[in-house]
């Protein structure tokens, strides 16, 4: 039995000195950046106000690797930016007299879509997830802009990708707009204040949703693991097959919409792993010759029907029984490949799928319970 040191030494020996050094410096970089960022986060940005200057509003945005505090006073717009990458700190200030516009922007994070398209160059799971993320993402930006001709063209930008931050951003934008209007519009006329309903404070755009993301990621992770462990992606695995069947049924228990998207996107994700032609998993060859479209359409329809059935059972007042919708897998197999119906393994997988869907409901309920409890404590 070899000890961990021997195992590590063997792995390092196979990887080579260059790779070992590269990994070491990458780890050192991450450690230093993280340590610095943690210390930066403890610092509080409190700008010195001028005599007679009054603070009007403040907006704090904290992301995964960035943090900003934007302060509106009656004379200036001030902002402190912190970034994990390169331990960057930045403080910006512009006077209201120089600010020629205050803009609020909402869009998809289009940069992710472009990255997905670049990574794609074909069909592959990484591109699929990037594109899905891009479609689900949001980018909200408030820009306090100075004229371009007025070098160095300083701008203050408050950004967030969090949908929950939209009301806060809209509120801050209105404050900034009001002050800007007060400063820039002729003081002899009333300032232009936007009507209360002119700006939506809730985002009604398409959202993938947490449950759908979990369902899709679980299904795709299972598909990748199955390819590595068993060589092929398929629904006949004792371990992975029940996951593919249970995912849409579990999602549909609380939301018909979620069940539909997990069935559709999850199945597409499985196909991406089965036939990755380029990109990150391009090292994996296509699994099993040519695509069997007639079967794929049948499987997709069955998954959608299963999710609809689960949602209907749940809607009619029996959510505990909704996992039984997984039993619809049997008629599909019986129609498509009657010879394999005589297989105890098939029945084992279907019953396991029912069990997994129930298990998912338990985990979801526990997660909600813990979240609510944490919220009450705060």
């Amino acid at each position: 039995m070899r000890n961990p040191i021997q195992i590590l030494a063997e792995i390092a020996g196979q990887a080579g000195l260059t790779v070992v050094f590269a990994l070491f410096f990458a780890a050192l970089f991450v450690y230093v950046m993280t340590r610095n960022y943690q210390r930066m986060m403890c610092e509080e940005f409190r700008p010195d106000l001028l005599e007679g200057e009054r603070q009007i509003d403040r907006l704090d945005i904290t992301g995964l690797i960035t943090s900003s505090r934007t302060i509106l006073t009656d004379r200036r717009v001030l902002q402190s930016n912190l970034s994990w990458l390169f331990s960057r700190r930045q403080v910006v200030a512009i006077g209201w007299a120089d600010t020629h516009s205050v803009t609020l922007k909402r869009s998809l994070a289009w940069i992710i879509l472009i990255a997905g398209a670049l990574v794609a160059r074909g069909v592959n799971p990484a591109a699929f997830l990037l594109v899905l993320w891009g479609l689900d993402s949001r980018a909200y930006t408030i820009i306090f802009e100075t004229p371009f001709a007025q070098m160095p063209w300083t701008r203050v930008r408050a950004r967030s990708r969090d949908r929950a931050a939209l009301p806060e951003l809209v509120r801050f934008y209105r404050s900034g707009y009001a002050v800007w209007a007060q400063m820039r519009v002729d003081k002899s006329t009333a300032p232009v204040i936007p009507a209360p309903d002119a700006i939506a404070t809730t985002d009604a755009d398409f959202v993938v949703g947490k449950n759908v993301w979990i369902g899709v990621l679980v299904v795709m992770a299972a598909a990748v693991l199955q390819r590595l462990a068993e060589g092929h992606v398929g629904f006949d695995s004792s371990v992975f097959g029940p996951i593919y069947i249970a995912a849409p049924v579990a999602a549909a228990r609380n939301s018909r919409r979620d069940g539909f998207w997990v069935a559709l996107l999850g199945f597409l994700g499985i196909l991406m792993v089965k036939f990755p032609s380029t990109g990150l998993p391009g090292a994996l060859v296509n699994d099993g010759g040519v695509p069997y479209f007639a079967q794929y359409i049948g499987v997709l329809i069955t998954l959608l029907l299963m999710s609809e059935a689960a949602a209907a059972i749940s809607r009619f007042g029996w959510p505990t029984l909704s996992p039984l919708a997984a039993l619809l897998w049997l008629p599909y197999v019986a129609m498509h490949m009657p010879a394999v119906v005589s297989d105890l393994g098939l029945y084992s997988r279907i019953v396991a799928a029912v069990g997994m869907a129930s298990l998912a409901a338990i985990l979801s309920a526990q997660s909600q319970y813990l979240t609510l409890r944490a919220g009450r404590k705060v």
Binding site: Y292, L344, A352, G355
Partner: protein, 332 residues
């Protein structure tokens, strides 16, 4: 939140029960001896070493079993067929002798009928008035026609029926057919009893002719070839598959008792045809498992094809054949 906890308890119950059922079904599935191609391969290899043809048969679809047994029956079939060919060749001389005898006798009959026709025709000519006789004698062709026609019409009904077409009889074009047809009835009683029927002496190939050759030839065969034929008739050779099966089974049984495969083969992971070639998400009902035998001559690969029949996977093809696997004689 109380309602949420209640639902959670029921869900826990459902999850536990269904997962337990799934585990039970999976265990039952794993315990089946022919649930997967891998387990069926193990059973197949075990059967090959079991000395029991019946055990091997239980692993195979009927067509594969028949093919295996017929391999052994094929050798017997070829030997019996060769023996019969030899018997036919040996019996030919005596057959020709009888046939020639029949034809000689029939030829004499034919000539006698011709003589009777001529005589009867001349009698008819003699009965004519003188002037008509004079007219006919002036024209030889006319005279010949008159004699033949009146001779044929004066023949007895029996003789008339024997010659068939008068036009062919006139030019002797029907001589061979007459000899073939009348040869058997011209034979003596002893030869008739030996030949059996006219078909036995026919020009072309008939069953009776073959039987007669065999009757003459088999006693002339060397003892080993006679033993090879034994009680097997020509009719038994007509249904080749049934013959090979019937006579191959005892040989196959003996072979299984006396032989064992050379070495325990290395089993490669089985592949499912639907998955590996057609991109299917379901494994389907066809699989191929490769066995690597290590022999003195190197590595020999055998592909065992499986088809799902009911709850079990059965061997549907072996490439090369089961008989071509590396067998060695079992130690006594």
């Amino acid at each position: 939140m109380v309602q949420g906890r209640k639902s959670s308890r029921v869900d826990v119950g459902v999850a536990l029960v269904t997962l337990a059922m799934a585990a039970g079904l999976w265990l039952a599935f794993e315990k089946q001896t022919h649930a997967t191609p891998e387990s069926s391969t193990a059973q197949f290899l075990h059967a090959l070493d079991s000395r029991d043809l019946g055990v091997v048969r239980s692993q195979l679809v009927p067509a594969v079993y028949d093919e295996f047994v017929q391999t052994f029956g094929n050798q017997r079939f070829e030997r019996v067929e060769h023996a019969y060919d030899q018997a036919y060749r040996l019996g030919d001389a005596r057959w020709v002798e009888i046939r020639e005898r029949a034809r000689d006798l029939a030829s004499q009959d034919y000539d006698q009928i011709r003589l009777r026709v001529t005589n009867l025709g001349k009698e008819a000519f003699a009965a004519l008035p003188v002037d008509e006789r004079m007219k006919l004698m002036d024209d030889q062709a006319l005279y010949g026609e008159f004699v033949f026609a009146h001779g044929v019409s004066a023949l007895s009904p029996t003789d008339r029926a024997r010659i068939g077409s008068a036009a062919e009889f006139k030019l002797s074009e029907d001589r061979d057919a007459f000899l073939d047809r009348e040869g058997f009835s011209a034979l003596g009683s002893e030869d008739k009893a030996l030949a059996g029927s006219a078909a036995a002496l026919a020009n072309g190939q008939t069953a009776a002719k073959t039987l007669l050759h065999d009757r003459f030839g088999i006693p002339l065969l060397p003892r080993p070839l006679r033993d090879e034929i034994g009680s097997i008739t020509r009719a038994d050779l007509q249904d080749v598959a049934a013959f090979k099966l019937k006579f191959g089974e005892p040989v196959a049984k003996k072979f299984m008792q006396d032989h064992v495969t050379a070495s325990a083969p290395a089993l490669q992971p089985c592949t499912y045809t639907w998955v590996s070639e057609q991109g299917s998400l379901l494994k389907g009902n066809e699989a191929i498992c490769n066995l690597h035998y290590t022999t003195r001559r190197g590595t020999q690969v055998a592909s065992v094809h499986f088809t799902k029949e009911g709850f079990e996977w059965r061997v549907s093809r072996v490439g090369p054949t089961i008989a071509d696997l590396p067998w060695t004689e079992r130690a006594p």
